[in-house]
Symmetry: C2
Subunit: 143 residues, 2 copies
DNA sequence: CTTTTAAGTAACCTTGATTATTACACTCGT
DNA sequence: ACGAGTGTAATAATCAAGGTTACTTAAAAG
């Protein structure tokens, strides 16, 4: 399976913002930590803004910061804000309707996919951004 | 998100084989139901063979059939046999090691991803191929 | 009010993965 | 031996994502 790395980048971005504890961070600085282009970060931040997770200012001395405490942001929210479509794909061509299986397999698959995706999101919801930061800080201390 | 549809196709293929209850089905016939190329189906069948889910014969009058009862095949097995890599991706470029978050975010993400993927597979494991067939037959009866 | 900083955004390129397609060798039953 | 059908390689066609450049807009600072 091949998926986008938007979720990984979003968690990274928010972790940096949480680490800065309220100081605004520019897209260029974030891009430096993630090692990518500032425009990629800005596109990601737009999605996070719409989800109400970050608060971004334009102009001189601007940048982004979390709009909530890291304790109150869970990973499922982050996932949903940056990953628009479903994890599972079906073929672009429709199955053969003349086949007894083909004519209704898509409905059966949809039930399966929805359930699996929900299970995944419930698991993600168990972890907060604060948990992630705690692990990052612990790991940094060990090193 | 961009994912493969191998899992969807694999479930479809196995559902057709289950529907045929032991009769061998050719890759061309399967391709007809799924509306794709026989070679795609053969490649999928190779993975399902390795996982011990199907039994394929070559030569005249050949084809594939399930190697076990549909009741004893669950969707997590199917998923693992055809989807090699992990569901979640990280950026191709490594994060900036000089950043306190960047230098250890990958480890933190790995824990998160592994947990979420396990949750998803546990959910898939709850459904068997027999369950899928039952839904397909019920849906066909209604129509 | 001008300058400067940085976000918003459009346009385009590059890359990589996946499906699709063609072609051919190999097996096995008849 | 023949024919049906799988195994497999090579290649093309698609397509989405990330990356890049360039320009516009907003807001603070002087």
């Amino acid at each position: 399976m091949r998926t986008s790395c938007r979720f990984a980048m979003a968690v990274h971005v928010l972790a940096v913002l949480a680490y800065q504890e309220g100081d605004r961070v520019t897209s260029a600085a974030l891009a430096g930590s993630i090692n990518t282009n500032p425009v990629i970060i800005r596109r990601l931040l737009l999605a996070l803004q719409k989800a109400g997770l970050v608060d971004t200012c334009r102009g001189a001395g601007a940048g982004s910061r979390l709009s909530r405490s890291p304790k109150r942001i869970n990973l499922a929210e982050i996932y949903r804000s940056v990953e628009a479509c479903e994890s599972f794909a079906t073929p672009s061509k429709k199955p053969n309707n003349a086949c007894p299986v083909g004519h209704c397999i898509l409905e059966a698959l949809d039930v399966i996919f929805t359930s699996a995706q929900s299970a995944m999101e419930r698991d993600l919801a168990k972890t907060t951004l604060a948990d992630v930061i705690a692990r990052v800080k612990a790991s940094g201390a060990c090193k």
